[in-house]
Amino acid sequence: MLRILALLALLAPLAAGATDAATSAAKIVKQGNGKGAAPCMACHGVDGGGMEATGYPRLAGLDAAYLQRQLDDFANGARTNPVMQPNAKALSEDERAALAQYYSALPLPAQLAKPAAAKPAAEGERLATRGDWSRALPGCVQCHAPGGVGVGANFPPLAGQPAAYIESQLRAWQQGTRRNDPLALMQHVAKQLTPQEIQAVAGWFAAQPLPARGSTP
């Protein structure tokens, strides 16, 4: 008995390391970190599903490395946003990493896992799937995967993200207020788009069904 207790005492700190990060991330999500970072759920929802009306993006189920880089880039200014920059700066590097892991592990919120009813514009579909090669514009899905479900750590999912969020990001790439894209691929592509095209393509992706949890890359 004593030996078992001793063994447990030895193992406890190891197990606690992992759980501590998760606990602290869950706590920051609900309460903030007490050092200036607001609770994430205030904007991104209790389940990490985002808010369609305000254009706050879904974080649940996104790639952890992608999420962590976004937080790091908000902190260092490669991605600008009046709300997210102060929050990211108020988080420690460890807290940013823990939050990225936390959201990556969250299941897809149930209310998002269904096809949207709206019929998106044909122009949006054409740009999303075929692009316009007379302007060196590939179809968005050539990198963001068919249906916009995303690929790995560098090509995030667009399917089911709020249209207002996709629009704001395309404008940010255009204006250079977001410039943390590898090889400047998005800045280059976004600069070719008209305001009408941005609206159409954002609407198409927002209306794409999200895949069931487990089939996301």
Binding site: W133, A136, P138, P146, V149
Partner: protein
């Protein structure tokens, strides 16, 4: 053993095919992918090849002929899904013929249709367009040739015919093929420099290991070497083809941004990796090289980094 002489040959012929930068500056640089055929004519040439713009997709007619054209386009853009029996890897035609086969300087279908039938040194006889398509399946798709009267070949031919509607026949059009005429490396291509270019500009999409990236069992970014890529008989394994394609079209959406040297170096890096065996394999690598790859543009049967290329080919 034959390894050493072949390795030397590989080095020598590679060096021989390049020109000193001072002597012969590159005559015609490939145009970036964005340009339309009509804008690429070279002012120095007495007779510029005629320009052509393919019909818009919205002009595909209704009815059975239109259905066949659309079926050809579907096969072209998602070949494993629509021509499954003939594809041995996960590649699609549109991986190397961008914009569903429409893009100038990306070997567009409208540039190929009118120059067949054609005598090809590759097999020593006159090939119909259908036979040329069979070659794509055998080599680039590492699969097997669909019969000439199969629905796959007929649909692809119909799609190509439609796209070339109104183009002159028997004439090389501006933007046909890959822009490799006069496109030479300033210095002989180099594996180590190519590896650095690859890591910086290619690995993001094609992966550090060259195996592409897949979602739900389907390529989003195609593998560039290894068992799921094109085999040693495919045109893209030749350095001049690969360098010209890369220069004009890669990274996707940023065609024309790599230097000529970078394009050649990274083409050599890609084509100095092992890939599926040439289906014409003649019993040993040296014999196969002598018979089918006796050109400085092929690394098959040469030794790179101590490995005899073609000897460890994936099936």
């Amino acid at each position: 053993m034959k390894h050493l002489p072949i390795a030397l040959l590989g080095t020598l012929v590679l060096a021989a095919c390049s020109h000193p930068a001072s002597e012969a500056p590159v005559a015609a640089k490939p145009a970036p992918a964005a340009s339309v055929a009509k804008t690429t004519s070279e002012p120095t040439q007495a007779k510029a090849p005629p320009a052509f713009t393919p019909p818009a997709e919205a002009e595909i007619p209704a009815g059975p002929l239109g259905d066949e054209i659309r079926r050809g386009m579907a096969i072209f853009t998602d070949t494993p899904a629509h021509a499954h029996d003939y594809v041995g890897n996960g590649l699609s035609c549109s991986n190397c013929h961008l914009d569903a086969g429409r893009l100038a300087n990306s070997a567009p279908l409208w540039g190929a249709w009118g120059v067949y039938p054609q005598y090809r040194k590759k097999n020593g006889r006159v090939n119909s367009f259908g036979e040329r398509l069979q070659g794509c399946f055998r080599y680039s798709m590492n699969g097997k040739a669909p019969p000439l009267d199969s629905d796959v070949i007929v649909a692809l031919q119909t799609y190509a015919w439609w796209m070339a509607k109104g183009a002159p026949t028997g004439v090389k059009l501006a933007g046909a093929g890959y822009p490799k005429q006069g496109f030479k490396p300033p210095q002989p291509p180099d594996y180590a420099r190519g590896a650095a270019v690859y890591a910086k500009d290619c690995a993001l999409c094609h992966g550090a290991d060259g195996q592409g990236q897949q979602v739900n069992g389907r390529n989003v970014f195609p593998p560039l070497w290894g068992p799921q890529s094109f085999n040693w008989g495919a045109g893209m394994h030749q350095l001049d083809n690969a360098a010209a394609f890369i220069k004009a079209n890669m990274p996707l959406s940023r065609g024309g941004t790599l230097s000529d040297q970078d394009a050649w170096d990274v083409a050599m890096y890609m084509d100095a990796h092992e890939r599926p065996q040439d289906p014409r394999y003649a019993g040993d690598v040296a014999a196969t090289r002598a018979k089918y790859h006796d050109t400085p543009m092929s690394l098959y049967g040469t030794t790179v980094n101590g490995h005899l290329l073609g000897s460890g080919a994936a099936k």
